[in-house]
Symmetry: C2
């Protein structure tokens, strides 16, 4: 297996998911060694959920998986770039296409991103 | 100042630098609160150097600074996306345009990235 520098950061490396066609950055998550191996083996993006402290196959429940089209690692082998096809169009649990929908403008945070679904419809009202 | 979730990960958040025109992902680094504030205040990308354990104005010595054209933060406010103009074309100390020049193909790591300068010329032979 291609080795990454997991030891530098407590066993985790950051992984960027980027739309393989448009180049839009969809999200950033972390991988542990198991998530990295699963991603390589299956061609489907897997991460480590820091909140749930478990392996996280992105989209496992919603069906919005990420099919990996290309994998790159950086010069230090401590960051991963996945070029993906985002099934269902939305990468973000908020219903946005990209998690990076918060634009900084004039010192304020301004919502600025394509909305694909309403999370209230999908996950129910909290 | 716009607050980020620095406390989640020992005071650091990952920051992606992406070419503002082409969408190419150039590098991933980390910011502490000071680097975030400096980036907001100056419009020039600042990071936290984990190896040197100090504030890192990217390109300070080489001149290859990153002029920030757009800043986004993600849904959880624990990751940053900078869209930048990379002065000098190369973001990577190896001389590559992007740090993500290692392509995974058929289980191997294959160099695949635009080379802008020879680091031996710039930093001297080691």
């Amino acid at each position: 297996m291609i080795e990454l520098e997991f030891d530098k950061r407590n066993g985790l490396v950051p992984a960027i998911a980027q739309d393989y066609r448009s180049g839009e950055v969809l999200m950033l998550a972390f991988m542990n060694e198991e998530a990295w191996r699963k991603t390589l083996d299956t061609g489907i993006a897997h991460y480590w959920s820091r909140s749930r402290r478990q392996l996280w196959k992105k989209g496992e429940s919603s069906g919005n998986i990420q099919e990996v089209r290309e994998i790159r690692v950086d010069c230090d082998r401590d960051s991963v770039l996945l070029k993906v096809h985002q099934v269902g169009e939305a990468a973000c649990h908020t219903g946005h296409r990209s998690c990076f929908f918060n634009l900084i403008r004039d010192g304020e945070v301004v919502p600025d991103g394509q909305i694909i679904f309403d999370p209230k419809d999908r996950y129910g009202r909290s």
